[in-house]
């Protein structure tokens, strides 16, 4: 069962040593990430699942969500492996051996390490194909919620990289409205609104967080409440007293900015 979630951006900027010297905007972002992941450890998790979009994995059809989570979607913990793909330098591992590392996993490990709390042996790395459909994302999220014990999620992803003429993807006038909708959905929180994000528009806007956010939406509302298929109802669970209770989520938006033309967002969610 999901007990808490944190959202962090995944720019290579957050990898250890990436900026060379310290950069004030990046340090501010790091501080927000530290505060968000502290919420995960405070939830006394039995495991922390890092959920990150993987642009290197194409979606396969006809999968069963649980089976999918069991094969291939889980990545091995190899701290530091592959950082040299983004930051080549003597002594940095380029990860030339195995499967391509997922940037969000590497950033998440850096953020967790930076936070100085928690236990590495509780971490699990989940790679979400960047083009996973909203319906499959919802199924993946529900499968995460069915895991035994207390599961906390660290979800990495970013909004549009097309927010200004100096942004990596130049300016797309649709970017601001898209990002604002995401921020509002996460602040509410409104899993239904996250689940309804358009994957085509997100891809055009270079908004890499879409798939991971929609997995989060599925985890927060595993019975499809507000999901993309519209068939859901409230998430009902039998409490210790035998009554059905729908979990309510509280969200805290801790960072929302785009210092380099990409929308970064940090938030934490706890079950109320």
């Amino acid at each position: 069962m999901i007990v808490a979630a944190a959202l962090c951006p995944e720019p290579p900027l957050l990898l250890p040593g990436a900026t060379g010297g310290p950069v004030p905007e990046v340090e501010r972002l790091r501080a927000a990430c530290r505060a968000a992941v502290a919420v995960l450890w405070a939830s006394r998790p039995d495991e922390v699942v890092v959920v990150a979009g993987d642009p290197g994995t194409a979606q396969r059809d006809g999968r069963d969500a649980d089976a999918e989570l069991g094969e291939g979607a889980w990545r091995p913990m190899e701290p530091g492996a592959g950082v040299g793909r983004w930051l080549p330098a003597p002594g940095r591992d380029g990860g030339t051996g195995g499967a391509a590392p997922v940037l969000g996993h590497l950033v998440a490990l850096a953020v967790l390490d930076d936070s100085g709390a928690g236990a590495p042996d509780l971490l699990r790395l989940l790679a979400v194909p960047a083009d996973l459909t909203p319906a499959d994302c919802a199924r993946w999220g529900a499968a995460l919620d069915r895991r035994p014990g207390r599961t906390a999620l660290l979800v990495t992803g970013d909004g549009s990289a097309r927010r200004s003429t100096s942004a990596p993807g130049y300016l797309d006038p649709r970017a601001a409205a898209f990002d604002d909708a995401v921020a509002a959905a996460l602040a509410a929180p409104d899993p239904g609104a996250l689940a309804a994000l358009d994957p085509v528009l997100a891809a055009e806007l270079l908004a890499g967080g879409r798939a991971a956010w929609q997995v989060l939406a599925g985890a927060l509302a595993p019975d499809g409440h507000g999901g993309p298929d519209g068939h859901g109802g409230p998430d009902k669970r039998c409490g210790p007293d035998g009554t059905a209770a729908r979990r309510r989520w509280r969200s805290e938006l801790r960072y929302l900015d785009d210092p380099y033309g990409v929308r970064y967002l940090v938030a934490s969610l706890t079950a109320g």
Partner: protein, 327 residues
């Protein structure tokens, strides 16, 4: 949480990749202590034969209103012409005429790019009959017109994005620059680019472009390879490409480096565009030492002096005037 990724940076820091390439590339004709440039032709530029060890300056001449360094200073044809005269006087071996800003900006279509470059190339050819002229373009339509106007080299800075550009070079007997961009689309900025081994990718992709050009009929000695600093690369990638430039030199093809005032220099020194000359010259000296042949530059006189100094240290060029202690 200590231990999650604590070992990721600095582990094995004693290994200095590329350190073994601080030799002089693959050619044996520039041996240590060799006093003179000699040996087989290394590169052919118009009707000039360049020997291994010679260092050439390619002067940037922008026919653009918006390029990052000069911000339109030579947008007017008269100013651009004056720029050519100054560059030649300062020791440029060739000029590189560009009609489209590399970064994002106002669209420039084929017709507009031709308007900006072709007549200008013809005028430069008239005034400087022997000056090698390069044109910085990725479009074959532009390449054809400027070759007709007298261009000698097509500087394909976007790495074969238009595969027909190499065909035009072959058709006109022109030279070609084969650049690594990591597959970037023209006029886009890098966004979270990653390479298992950026230098291996540079060597592999530039070799493929060069071999294809040869098959199409471009003269093998008129092909330059360019590691494409900043193109499809973050600053760490560009620094690695410089550190291990010897691996590209070792392919035996003459290497062009385009370093001038670029972002990787600015980010390394935290210097805005107007304050990157010192860093540019430092990285030019390192690249010359590691075996690069041609240097694309805004600051021609300073680059010429830097390269002459490196050539003298290498023993490829005699010092200009030696009297000290000799009287």
């Amino acid at each position: 949480m200590s231990g999650v990724s604590g070992g990721s940076v600095g582990a094995g820091g004693s290994e200095v990749s590329g350190g073994s390439s601080v030799s002089r590339g693959s050619g044996g004709d520039v041996g240590a202590g060799g006093g003179e440039v000699s040996g087989a032709p290394h590169y052919l530029l118009r009707d000039r034969t360049v020997r291994r060890g010679e260092l050439l300056v390619m002067a940037i001449v922008n026919r653009t209103p918006d390029s990052f360094y000069d911000r339109g200073a030579t947008w007017a044809e008269g100013a651009a012409f004056e720029r050519v005269r100054e560059a030649v006087a300062a020791g440029a071996d060739l000029v590189d005429v560009g009609g489209v800003k590399a970064g994002h900006g106002s669209p420039v279509d084929v017709a507009e790019e031709i308007r900006r470059t072709a007549r200008f190339v013809a005028a430069v050819r008239d005034e400087f009959p022997d000056l090698p002229i390069s044109v910085d373009t990725w479009r074959h339509e532009v390449g054809r017109v400027v070759c007709e106007a007298g261009a000698d080299v097509l500087n394909d800075a976007w790495g074969g994005h238009d595969p027909r550009l190499a065909e035009v070079a072959a058709e006109f007997g022109a030279g070609l620059v084969c650049t690594h961009t990591g597959g970037a689309t023209p006029r886009t900025a890098p966004h979270r680019v990653a390479y298992p081994d950026v230098v291996a990718d540079i060597v592999e992709r530039t070799a493929a472009l060069a071999e294809r050009a040869e098959r199409l009929g471009v003269h093998p000695r008129r092909i330059l390879v360019d590691p494409g600093h900043d193109f499809g690369k973050n600053t760490w990638h560009s620094l690695e490409a410089t550190r291990r430039l010897g691996e590209l030199v070792a392919t035996g093809r003459p290497v062009l480096v385009s370093l001038s005032n670029k972002d990787f220099v600015g980010e390394t020194l935290d210097a805005p565009v107007g304050e990157r000359l010192t860093g540019t010259l430092a990285v030019s000296a390192v690249s010359a030492w590691l075996g690069a042949t041609m240097f694309r530059a805004h600051n021609v006189a300073e680059t010429r002096a830097t390269l002459d100094m490196v050539a003298a240290v290498r023993g490829d060029r005699p010092p200009a005037r030696v009297l000290r202690g000799l009287a």
